[in-house]
Amino acid sequence: MAEPVLSIRNLCKSFGALKATDDVSLDLHPGEIHALIGPNGAGKSTLIHQIAGTLKHNSGSIHFMGRDVSALGVSHRAQLGLGRTFQISSLTPEFSALRNVMLAVQANQGSSFRFWKPVMTDASLKDTARDMLGRVGLLDRADIPSAELSHGERRQLEIAIALALGPKAFLLDEPMAGMGPEGSKRLTAFLDTLRHEAPILLIEHDMDAVFALADRISVLVYGRIIATGTVDDIRRNPLVREAYLGESV
């Protein structure tokens, strides 16, 4: 099998006596969607924060693109190609949808220290950003300030921003949250094609989406991964049924 894009080994993180991340190991391979599921408070977001670099882990290692990124900050990891979306939409509220994406294109081009040329006349930024908005179906809302977008539209904008970074791996934190059945269905179809651009580590509560998309699933309970396997493995696993899925499967 090819080198994993993202490889986490024996990761631990404690807050006082609470072990939020307890000896977690996890790989993300090229072309796959790896879903991370678990009940509320299992430590999914804490894990995402450590991968993205907003939290420092206590021990263990995180390798991204074959490189140990443990000591690198958030922006450095993003530059290496980690495209993250936030569980709660995190945008620049005064900027239009288009300018939000243009900023990501600009970041991807690696050129924020240009002081004279107006961005709005910069076709290389504008056209790419419009392409990305078109791909997530948000082009007709390009000029609306992101603070005025609906919840679902902000989720789409989050994805467009991640796309604009041309990432080597996507880190999607509950992209379906609050989207409604129609929106979720469309996004599921979209993510299915996205995996060919870059592998996806998907944190998601929507089990229909997870079972439809995931090549592999890891189940996180109280900071520990209790099982990793294919959709069928996870459905059959008695530990998982007991701890998480209950009788609903």
Partner: protein, 327 residues
């Protein structure tokens, strides 16, 4: 709305020189000096507006940069007048009384100071940032007070206003035009920078630092460069201010000077291109009109400031031209 703001800006850009020229024509140099004071304070505030308005960096220490510019003008003027060198060892540096050189020196020294202050203070945010910038400015303030070579507590009088190639700077209108020309240049540079890639990153950093970091832009670098540019512009204004008053003293470095610059921007409209100009006009007119009636004019200024903060966040520009819209 953008068109209306443009009209307001043009009106503000014309009103100050119109008043200065009219006052000069009527033989009222005092009012020309008042207009010059407006232009210089506006220039200082354009600098601060870059950090505060676009970057959200509430620097309570910009008097440091203002004063550095002022002392540069004062020190150069003194040495040039006495015909003594600035420095004898290790190399001989002669003083000049030419403003462009003094502005350059002011900007470079203030830029270096801003680099050092920014590297430390920009690691904090909110109230801590305000307090650390204040602390640095106070350090420089007390340094100036305890430096007897250049006047110490008494400050430094500038016997001869510094010169400008081909212009008689002692003529009040000529000096006004120099200050006003620099203000227009700074406003033009501010507008280009605001709409540039750097400006986009800076404004985004103010709105959502985590977002900016997560797309791979380092907020600290963006802020540091903005803080340095901001300090450099304010320092040039400081040099002009010393030349205007023909005096520089520790008061130019005081915390109340920093506060005045912030007040100016809030009155005019935070982050707006002509906010500093509108604010400087209001501030100087209040100072002049109310200051003539009562020495407690700042009480009334405080009340007006309170009203702006409570009811009209956009300041005067916001009142005249409406809310800001980003393209």
């Amino acid at each position: 709305m953008a068109d209306r703001e443009r009209l307001v800006n043009i009106a503000l850009a014309l009103i100050v020189p119109a008043c200065a020229v009219a006052a000069h024509g009527m033989g009222e140099p005092f009012y020309v000096t008042l207009a010059t004071r407006i232009a210089i304070l506006a220039l200082a505030a354009v600098g601060l507006n870059l950090a505060l308005g676009l970057g959200g960096l509430v620097s309570f220490g910009h008097a440091a940069f203002f004063g550095i510019g002022g002392y540069a003008a004062g020190i150069f003027a003194t040495h040039a007048f006495n015909q003594t060198p600035l420095l004898t060892a290790p190399v001989m540096i002669l003083a000049t009384n030419q403003m462009p050189v003094i502005w350059l020196v002011s900007a470079v020294v203030a830029g270096l100071a801003a680099l050092l202050i920014g590297l430390i203070s920009l690691r904090t945010s909110g109230v801590y940032f305000i307090m650390i910038t204040l602390a640095f400015a106070q350090m420089i303030y007390y340094f100036a007070i305890s430096w007897p070579a250049y006047g110490g507590e008494d400050g430094l009088s500038i016997t001869m206003r510094n010169g400008f190639p081909g212009v008689n700077t002692l003529n009040p209108l000529s000096f006004f035009l120099i200050a006003y020309g620099l203000l227009l240049l700074a406003l033009f540079a501010f507008s280009r920078l605001r709409d540039s890639r750097f400006g986009a990153a800076l404004q985004a950093t103010r709105q959502n630092e985590v977002r900016v970091a997560s797309i791979g832009i380092r907020p600290l670098r963006i802020r540091l460069v903005a803080f340095i540019l901001s300090g450099m512009i304010t320092a040039i204004a400081g040099a002009l201010f010393a030349d205007l008053n023909r005096f520089v003293g520790p008061s130019m470095l005081s915390w109340s000077m920093s506060g005045e610059l912030i007040v100016l921007i809030i009155l005019g409209g935070t982050g707006r291109l002509f906010g500093p100009v509108a604010g400087a006009i209001l501030f100087v007119l209040f100072e002049f009109a109310l200051g003539g009636l009562t020495e407690h004019w700042q009480l009334f200024l405080g009340l007006i400031l309170l009203a702006v903060v409570l009811f009209g966040r956009g300041g005067l520009i916001g009142l005249l031209a409406g809310k800001v819209r980003h393209g």
